[in-house]
């Protein structure tokens, strides 16, 4: 049975010792990190720290040196995210830190995605996401994006305060399968309907499925403004995206 000192990376050792309390999780992580190469431990450590430029650099270097893509994904990125999940559950870190780690993971996955594509593994679909005009609240949208990317969707993030014309321009440019809009304020929520109307006026409404969400949004409101679907949270957003595109839980792959 490996011991903590068998994990070469000092930062990972400290993370396990300081933040992982459940014996079965500690044992599993020690066994995992004692087995993986120091290089993968380094990627995991950078991801836990939310250092996306470092994850970017280390991932690219590992792949350039012919480390298999799935090894980088499993033993670097996902292994690191496993510790992030535990720290979040135990309230050592909070949503902003989790989102920073998710951005670091995206930086690493950006180098892996072309290899997946070359292997015939295509994204489940392409999604454009944005918070509507006048609204600067982005946590819900960002959590949805994290979940969608984790599930295998390609996501283009338009950010906050997105005008109808910006949504239209992005759809024309990227030709997505889905468009997701979020709003947190009751005062900005009507801008979802205005954006949908803008798509109708531009003759583009049938080009893309539109899903909406956010604290004040309801299924009834989504129906009234003519959205294709409503998700109450990030998990529901992923289920809805799959439903709207008719993909099953294990579908993606062969492209």
């Amino acid at each position: 049975m490996p011991e903590l000192n068998d994990v070469e990376n000092q930062f990972i050792r400290q993370e396990i010792a300081e933040f992982v309390e459940r014996p079965e999780e500690k044992e599993r992580l020690i066994t995992l990190f004692a087995r993986v190469t120091p290089r993968m431990q380094q990627i995991a450590a950078a991801l836990i720290e939310g250092e996306n430029t470092e994850v970017d650099r280390l991932t690219r270097a590992a792949l350039d040196d012919k480390v298999p893509a799935l090894e980088v994904m499993d033993e670097g990125l996902i292994a690191g995210m496993g510790i992030v999940g535990i720290k979040f559950r135990e309230n050592y870190i909070f949503v902003p830190e989790v989102l920073a780690c998710a951005r670091a993971m995206k930086a690493g996955m950006a180098h892996i995605e072309p290899i997946l594509s070359a292997s015939g593994i295509q994204p489940l679909g392409k999604v454009i996401m944005g918070t509507v005009k006048g609204d600067l609240h982005d946590i819900g949208k960002n959590l949805c994006i994290m979940m969608l990317r984790g599930t295998g969707f390609e996501v283009i993030d338009l950010g906050v305060d997105t005008a109808p014309d910006d949504f239209i321009d992005a759809v024309e440019e990227h030709q997505p399968d889905l468009l997701g809009m979020s709003a947190l304020l009751t005062t900005t929520m009507p801008n979802m309907g205005k954006t949908i109307d803008a798509f109708i006026d531009a003759g583009l409404r049938d080009n893309v499925k539109i899903m909406v969400g956010g604290a004040p949004v309801t299924q009834e409101f989504a129906d009234d403004m003519g959205a294709d679907g409503y998700g109450k949270d990030a998990m529901a957003c992923v289920s809805l995206a799959k439903d709207l595109l008719g993909v099953s839980a294990r579908a993606p792959a062969a492209g």
Binding site: I93, P96, E97, I115, A118, D233, A254
Partner: protein
Amino acid sequence: MPQQPVDPEAYHQSVERINEIFGSMMVTVDELVGHRCPYKNRFDQCTAAFGCRNQRKAREPGQLKVCGADDKLDYRSAWQDG
């Protein structure tokens, strides 16, 4: 020599592990947002790009503002769209 192709089945297993981790995180998010603002980081700083009545002066110049919420009241009523 190019990278070896990725086995789709092994990739699916990796995606399932990510989903497991992220799914568990969303359970924590649901529990957390009932009492702690999601924009508040581990240093009790506000990461929001908008104004909030709970924002206090930053500890040092150039740092994020400090969140003054006590994690007991409904923080959402303090959010502004500015």
